[in-house]
Each structure stands twice: as C-alpha cells, then as structure tokens.
Symmetry: C2
Subunit: 379 residues, 2 copies
C-alpha cells in the first residue's frame, strides 16, 4: 500500500525502531528513574540517551532542557499555557494547527489576547506582518515550521530575530520538520520547540517533546511523582523532572532513540533530498493533470514534503476514498485539524487531499499515485 | 532476576502484549481517527477495542466514557483540575501518592481547599473520619484503592456511599489494583477512576486512562487536533475526543488491549489469588526474620500484593542495593513518591524497601528474596 500519510505519522519505521521497542519491552522493561535496580538504571539510560540524541540533533547545549511528552500537542499546550499569563498578548500565523489555535482560544477566556497574522494564499508568512501586529503586551510568537496542510515553510530565522529584538519568547511547532530540516535552537533564536517523536523523527506514536531554553520557567501543567525529592509534597523545580511527572513511555522513547540514530546515520540532508526530490516529481506530474488544483508554494525550496490538492468537482473525502479503496493508496482528506489554514488557502468547504511524503516512499509510489489520480479524473 | 517492582511497572508482560505492540507497529502503524484509509481505520478499531475491553473489565456501560491518557498521573491531574473550582473543598487520605497530593497542593494557590484525612499506622482509613471532615463546600473525595507503600486496601464501597449521600464526586486512584481487584464503577459509586495501563493491566508503559461518569463535565487540560469537528477552532465537546487531543500512543494501547485479554482469559480471580498467596507466603516468612520490620496490615484480606519492610539499623537504599547487586533481586527503596503515607506509617526518615508482587512471580522468587534478606541481616 503506497503510504502518503507521513504528516500524520511516518510509516513504516526503520527496522531498528521495531527492534528497540521490542528489546526494551522484553529485556529492560522497568520504570526509569525510580527504583535504582539494574533494570531501572538501564531504563534510565535509555531515556537519557534519547534526550542526548535529541539535543545533538537540535543543537541544544544541555540535554536536560529537553522534556518528553506524549505528543507534540501536549508539548504545545505546556509551552503556551505554562508561559502565557492574564494580560499577555501572543501572535500566531493563520497556518497554525488546532494544537496551537485551540489552546490559544481556551486562554482567551482567561484574559490572554492573541493576534492571528494572516498568511498569503500559498501559506507564506510575511515577517513584516508579524512585526506590525506587535503590541506593548506581546509576550510570545508561535509559528509552525511548515504547514501541515500545504507544506509551506515559515521564515523561522526572521521570526527568531523579531522575537529576540522585541524580547518575546519564540515557540516553534516543528511537527512537520523535526528530523528532516536542520533545526538549531540557538542560531534560530528558538526559545521553545515542540516536536512529535512519531513523524519524521521515525519513533513510535506516543512520543514527543518540548525544548525549553535554559532559564525559562514554565508553570507545569501536571504534578505528580517524579522519582525526585519524593519527600516533598510540592512539585520539584529541577529539569527535566518538573515537567515529566508519572511513568514515561519508555519503550516509545527507546524506539525514538533508534529512529534518531537512523537519521544521524543516513544523514538528514540525504533524507531531506530524497523527500524533496519525490515532492518535486509529484508536483511536476500533478501540474500536467488538468482537473487537479494544487495548493501551497508548489516549490520544494519553499515547501516541506506535504502536497495538498483537489480534483475539481469532487469532494476531498471522495477522492481519498477512491485512492484507498480502488488503488490502495493512503492519503488524508478533509481539514487536517487546521481550519484557519484552509480559510487562508480557500479550501474551508471541501478540504484538501493531502499527500505527505516520507523517507520510505519511492518514485514508483508517486507514479502509482499520479496514475490513480488520472484514472479518478477520467471518472 | 526476581523482579519485585510490579507496583512501579509490571514485568514481564504476557507474550501476546509484545506481539501485539510489534504487530501494530509493523502492520497497522497509521494514525487512528484521522485519515479514513484502511490502515487508519484498523488503528481506530484497535483503540476502540481496548476501550471496550476496559469498559468490560470495570463494568462501564459506555466505552466512550473511558479516555486514554499517557499514564495514571495525567488521568488524576485531569480529574482533579478539570473538576475542582476556586472555593471548592476536597478530601483525600494520607496514603495518597504524590500524583494526587502535588496537584492538590498546586490547586491550593488557586483557592481550592483540602483536608487530608489521616489513616492509621497500618494505612487503614476509618470511613467515619472521612465523613467527619466534610465541609459545606466539599465537592470531591479522592482515595487510592490500595496504598502503593503498604498495599493497604481502602474502604472503597463505604467511601462511595459517603460520596453519594453527600453529592460529592468520588475519584478513585486504581493504580495498584486495576487488573487484579474487581472494580465496578456503578456498584461502587465511582464517578471517576484513574488507572495506569502498564501495571496490573499488563500493558506497556505510556498507557493509562480515566473513566468519567456520563454527564460529568470536566474542563479539559489539553486542546488540540482530535480528528473531529476539524472546522472548529474550539475544542469539541464530544466524548472521548474532548479529552484526547493529539496522536494517541496507539502501539501502547494495542498492547494494553492484549494485556486485558490475557487477564480476562486467565481470570482476574486466579491472578489475584496467585498474587495474594505469594504475598501471604512472603509475609509469613518475613515474620520469622527478627531484624525485619514489616509495615501495613500484614494480612492479605486487607492488603494488595505490596509489602514494605525495613531491616533495623539499615537504610532502605542500602538493603535494596544489596538485594540488587549481590542477589539480583529488584525492589524499590525510599519514599515511593508518597511522603504523607510514610509520615502515616512512621518511615519518613528511612523510607521502606518495597516488594511488589506480580502474576509472573513464583514461590521460588519469594524464597530467593527471603534467603537474601536473611543473609543481609546476618551482615
């Protein structure tokens, strides 16, 4: 089955990810950071190793500034609600996912203001528009690195500069790019960065995390057992324990570590070039199909490997259903949990058919998809 | 290695749990509830099947009232913070884990009052003490089903009755009992019940959940993509989506389903009797070692399979270290993230050495442990 739903979760994972999850479950198996026996220590080492690998990948000085969450949504919620206070103002782009917009809407009722900066029809953000929307009580800028609808890459460097110049916290949602695009939290002035473990980082579902710049204090959302300062009935303030209450998804984190090792071995550039080449090829082929409308930049220099399209006169769900049932091709139709992005690109009514490409996709997969689209267009 | 740390996480898991996690990762792999292609639908079915199995196990009428969380701590935080409001009063026992006490302490700053009802030295709660502590603004009672330090079983039925009579919400922390003790949310008047997936339910780490009685509305802690009502920028109110934003730990939930099927096949009574018999045997043997102090009821009718002890004159960490390094026996020393419980039983200084028994422990394991303790006592 050609799988083009990598923006939801990557599939397949590298063989070593499966093996590492199984090894963890069968061999180490214990609870890290609690008991101190051999198995628990081994589990703790697995966690720490993955933290180190993430720090290496994102150029983070201290691995303890990376905390594990169950997914990027949990990380974004923690960053947003842990940082913003009543009376604050926050800026975000109109291409954000509901995992940013819904928490921001929830904070509205608690006196946190926001401005949604509208992007162009291809999803591009003009950094000047962001700067113009600043207010005296602005405290934070939130941007996705790449839209999950159109793949549009955001001007992260420019946003980082604006944010630094104006003493704001910059929260990057790296859901569609972590593992494929180079992310350097210092060079890009990123203060917090949320990432899923199960997309381009190639780990299992149930993993994700948040980088928090040293010195930045968030109000933790969850308190509980941390295995540290067990004599205290208030949450400890040390990193990363403060934000990691309860038993972590250790088998998942073990698998995530294996995914990152795979990335480092293959080389992120090689992975990105492969995905980008296939995206280019898909875009070229799509341009030849008359009834197909493609959204976004249609240019892999400006776009992560995500392509949204529609067949004129057909509902996106109908197209996806045919791709799945007749051609065994997995894509995602609809609104992709990003209604404002669809408003921006003009597809709030019908949604889009989204092809999201991963490292294990092949040119043959793209050919199969294009041929299937031709057939569907012919009806 | 005799593994006696099952109260932290059960080990090993049944063979079918390993296999189901691997099968999910290798074969279904997709994101449930989002895309609608075959793999995504299969993933959705896995999630729903586990929800149904949990509903069956806990006598819950509608599986949609079970929501998945990353662990019991996240479930407890959601139940506590989602339900209690400024001006409310909540009652809890002195045997609660920090996953209850720390959120309650955090709410104190937000104007939520609490009373900690002190238990007896063996951890037992007198339900009358709970009733006496009620106030006109009391809104909730929280109790663990069994202490994670002493195993002491709490009078759940009586607490349920008090709670119903006084129109309070009853939140049960079933961390140490779900999967071993019969839990009937209706018969026991339980309004919310938090459970880990990776302890006696025999699933992988990274799983847990919360039962929420129908009609009970919690303020959700996390907003984000739910795959439902994607056109809306506010969180949908439908169950279980409202409380399950972001990608779930689907491989973990698949494994959890396999764990529950194992329990249903073996029979929960058979599992409980096995664990209880071993606990009894351990308690009998411990009573013969002069230098060993055992805490808790020392009676398996009143105690889940958790035994805390100390060797007089030795620190609990020292004993655990010897058990691990010389005898390859895994236990947990220290305060077990429950400082008030240790205050209650008088071990706040030295902690305890905790033996927690699981279904895969054997009589030989107990003999090994007892022999090791004899040797350590002899120095």
């Amino acid at each position: 089955m050609p799988y083009f739903d990598n923006a939801a979760t990557s599939f397949p994972k590298p063989e070593e990810v499966y093996r590492e999850v199984e090894k963890y479950l069968r061999v180490y198996g214990a609870n890290p950071g609690r008991s101190g026996h051999k198995m628990a220590l081994q589990a703790g080492r697995v966690i720490f190793e993955t933290r180190e690998l993430l720090a290496k990948l994102f150029h983070i000085d201290d691995p303890m500034q990376v905390i594990f969450t169950s997914n990027a949504t949990a990380a974004l919620n923690l960053a947003i609600k842990g940082y913003l206070k009543r009376g604050d103002h926050v800026l975000l782009t109109s291409m954000e996912h509901n995992s940013v917009i819904r928490p921001i809407k929830a904070l509205e009722n608690m006196g946190v203001e926001h401005t949604i900066v509208t992007c162009a029809k291809d999803g591009a953000l003009n950094p000047e528009d962001m700067e113009k929307a600043l207010k005296s009580n602005s405290k934070m800028i939130i941007s996705t690195h790449a839209s999950n609808v159109t793949g549009t890459l955001m001007p992260v460097q420019e946003i980082g500069t604006i944010s630094q110049k104006n003493h704001l916290a910059f929260l990057l949602d790296a859901s569609q790019t972590a593992g494929v695009y180079d992310l350097d939290v210092n060079a890009m002035n990123i203060d917090m960065m949320a990432f899923p473990g199960h997309k381009s980082l190639l780990g299992p579902q149930g993993t994700g995390g948040l980088y928090i710049r040293k010195g930045l204090e968030l109000c933790e959302m969850i308190q509980g057992g941390t295995g540290s300062k067990s004599d205290r009935i208030v949450q400890p303030e040390m990193m990363p324990d403060r934000y990691e209450s309860g038993t972590l998804n250790t088998p998942g984190i073990a698998g995530l570590g294996a995914g990152i090792k795979f990335i480092l071995r293959q080389g992120m550039d090689e992975i990105r070039h492969h995905e980008s080449d296939l995206t280019n090829y898909l875009l070229e082929k799509l341009a030849e199909i008359k009834k197909v409308d493609v959204y976004g930049p249609m240019n892999t220099l400006k776009q992560a490997p995500v392509v949204s399209l529609n067949i004129r006169g057909m509902d996106s769900s109908e197209v996806a259903y045919e791709l799945d049932s007749k051609y065994d091709i997995a894509v995602r139709p609809g609104l992709h949990c990003a209604p404002l992005a669809h408003e921006t690109i003009g597809t709030l009514e019908q949604g889009t058919v989204r092809f999201s490409i991963g490292y294990f996709n092949t040119k043959e997969n793209v050919d199969q998809a294009v041929n299937a689209l031709y057939s569907i267009c012919r009806g």
